[in-house]
Amino acid sequence: MNAMTRTTAYEIVQDAIREIVPDADFSAVGPDDKYREALEIDSLDFESLVELLAERTGLRIDEDDYPRLTTLGDAADFLAERQS
């Protein structure tokens, strides 16, 4: 697979969140905001989100990686970095 650009990674994260919160307003949640609180993503939602991200990127995402998924920007950085 070609290396994922950060922009692509950012879109993957947004799309995955939209699967769970279809009306997620990304104009109100910036790259540095903690999206879980803003979008009311609970623990079960978050587990689903991680599964979606793993499925769509083919990456393995462990519990230890969760702190790197705190903001949209962090999550995009993490996915792009892992993929390269």
Partner: protein
């Protein structure tokens, strides 16, 4: 069913409170249990006095009551003496607002020190406390506040903006909204919690309440109607205190962590009241579930007794499977931990054994519900654990298995008690323990309908084995147990029906490995609608906005041919059978011949 049994060490680190089960049951009486509490000076009984003021009066005010772990990991401590003064201020503030005996104060808060101040201050003032779950959306919030006649609400600016402001005009009885923390913009129609308390005196003698005075209101979900507000009285504290000694094995020097949300009955009975009456130190985590964070808290705070939920245990299992490696939990010092208990939905045997193998301690499942107010059936510290069983009834609790009729509920007139072991029936309890609910608010008939021949009917189907251990089989009605919460299919269906393109909806719990069940909606759409992925997403968003993430369906399936009863209601039980892939031939046994009664 597993035959495996987990035995306990002969010499545990701490001598358990309940060692001889049979003798304790034989000798126990609730009137003797009452003697373990102080009572109000001058007579009467008040939960708040037993939880805080008593410790101050008896010279334990300097002990740490709360260790509040903030989201960023920093920790604030509150002593029993400080908690007594803060709750005095709150009670005094209520008095200046003209809020008093019997008035309802609602909380919509996460786990923060102000929650404790508000709960204890409300009870001290003679008012009635009703907690709400902060993951509820505006609809469930407004409905419960209306049904419960909320006069006061304590919440945060963020929660107020999202969940209350949009429905405020539907709440004419709501007079005072107190905002915890600093709002970024002024919020009309609210006032600052801190400013109000700063003006209030820290002198306040608890209002004289009698054991039968109303203290708590907890909403729970029904199958076919609006939520039910279960009324609890001050005397409940006797049961909170005693059951925490028996089923959670609380000792005064424990550091105790209950992970339940304060919006549910567990978060109140065992997240606030019971542990405080034992004078223990409570760990209060403001953050959400996160495996690493949780292990860190267990380790850093030297937690000794931990009360959590099956869904949380199963999430920990996902991050550290039984096959190993155990690197994550083993990288933390969990040596202080000596007892783990769990409640919410049945704990699968694998989770009990996982605790034993990975954390070195079995998980003790127990059973109770909003109406019972306290733990009824439990696995005890000194007794062998049968993985998958909810355990045995506590001293002072009489439980029975009742034969069921065609509608799935206990046969009435008269009921038939199944004495032989291993028979399935509805779990029933003989009322008489102090935290038994005293009514559903404004719903006398629904309350009366919960009893038959002097038994309280729980709605859960169980069996009891030859050794007296109870095993959960399923619900006798359509209520969904998801991640430890009871969810009403009716409430979810009603919200979906408000969407202009929805013709009909049937909501069930789809079995889920982690959450026990997740909410799934079957929807038929109006002729002009196209049931495609876009509409599916739109409905999920629509439901989340109204109901909040905890209640909204996580899955939606379109079905233009929903099965009906003769009276025209959607047959949820048939949808469940379809979901489970049961063959057509089995359906007849699942259904009553004429109509679904629930």
């Amino acid at each position: 069913m597993t035959r495996h049994m987990i035995h306990k060490p002969e010499r545990p680190r701490v001598a358990p409170n309940l060692t001889d089960y049979a003798r304790e049951r034989a000798e126990f009486s609730w009137s003797k249990a009452r003697e373990r509490l102080a009572g109000l000076p001058g007579g009467g009984l008040n939960i708040s006095y037993e939880a805080v003021d008593r410790h101050v009066a008896e010279g334990r005010g300097g002990r740490i009551a709360l260790r509040c772990v903030r989201r960023d990991g920093s920790v604030d401590t509150v002593t029993y003496a400080e908690l007594a003064l803060e709750s005095n201020r709150f009670a005094h503030a209520m008095r200046t607002l003209g809020v008093g005996r019997g008035d309802r104060v609602f909380t919509l808060l996460g786990r923060c020190p102000e929650l404790f101040t508000a709960v204890l201050g409300t009870l001290k003032s003679g008012s009635v406390l009703c907690p709400l779950f902060s993951a509820f959306g505006p609809d469930p919030v407004a409905q419960r506040m209306t049904l419960g006649n909320a006069r006061v609400l304590v919440t945060t600016a963020a929660l107020y903006r999202r969940k209350v402001a949009p429905v405020r005009e539907r709440l004419p009885e709501l007079e005072h909204v107190l905002i915890v923390g600093e709002p970024s913009d002024p919020l009309p129609g609210t006032q600052s919690f801190d400013a109000l308390l700063a003006r209030a005196s820290e002198e306040f003698a608890p209002v004289h309440t009698e054991p039968e005075d109303m203290a708590l209101l907890h909403f729970t979900s029904g199958t076919t109607d609006v939520p039910k507000g279960a009324v609890h009285v001050h005397e409940a504290v006797v049961a909170h205190h005693v059951t925490a000694a028996y089923a959670l094995d609380l000792h005064p020097d424990d550091v105790y962590w209950c992970t339940a949300d304060p919006g549910w009955v567990t978060g109140m009975s065992y997240g606030i009241i019971a542990p405080l009456t034992h004078g223990v130190t409570l760990v209060v985590d403001e953050g959400d579930y996160d495996a690493r964070r949780w292990y860190r808290i267990l380790s850093q705070e030297r937690v000794t007794v931990w009360y959590t939920a099956p869904t949380a245990i199963r999430m920990l299992m996902r991050s550290t499977p039984r096959e190993g490696p155990y690197d994550l939990p083993r990288s933390f010092d969990l040596s202080a931990l000596r007892f783990i208990a769990s409640v919410g939905e049945p704990l699968n045997p694998e989770a009990v054994v996982w605790g034993e193998e990975v954390l070195g301690l079995p998980v003790h499942d127990n059973w109770w519900q909003t109406e019972t107010g306290c733990i009824m059936i439990a696995n005890f510290a000194a007794s062998p654990v049968k993985p998958g069983s909810m355990g045995r009834p506590l001293p002072g609790v009489e439980a029975a298995v009742l034969a069921r009729g065609a509608d799935g509920r206990a046969i009435r007139g008269p009921v038939r008690v199944l004495e032989e072991p291993d028979q399935e029936g509805e779990l029933a309890l003989r009322p008489g323990w102090p935290s038994m609910f005293r009514g559903y608010l404004h719903a006398k008939e629904r309350y009366a309908g919960s009893f038959a021949d002097g038994w309280y009917l729980t709605g859960d189907v169980v069996r009891r084995d030859a050794e007296g251990y109870f095993w959960f089989v399923g619900r006798a009605d359509d209520v969904i147990k998801s991640a430890g919460h009871l969810i009403s299919p009716f409430e979810v269906e009603s919200a979906l029906l408000e969407h202009p393109l929805v013709a009909e909806a049937g909501v069930i719990g789809r079995p889920d490995e982690t959450a026990g069940a997740i909410v799934k909606a079957y929807v038929s759409v109006r002729p002009e609608a196209v049931p495609d992925d876009r509409l599916r997403r739109e409905l999920i968003a629509f439901a989340r906005q109204r109901l909040g993430p905890a209640v909204a369906p996580r899955e939606i399936a379109f079905d233009q041919h929903l099965p009906h009863t003769r009276s025209g209601k959607v047959m949820r039980r048939l949808l469940r059978a379809r979901e489970l892939g049961l063959p057509e031939g089995d359906l007849s046994t699942l259904e009553t011949p004429s109509e679904e009664t629930s």
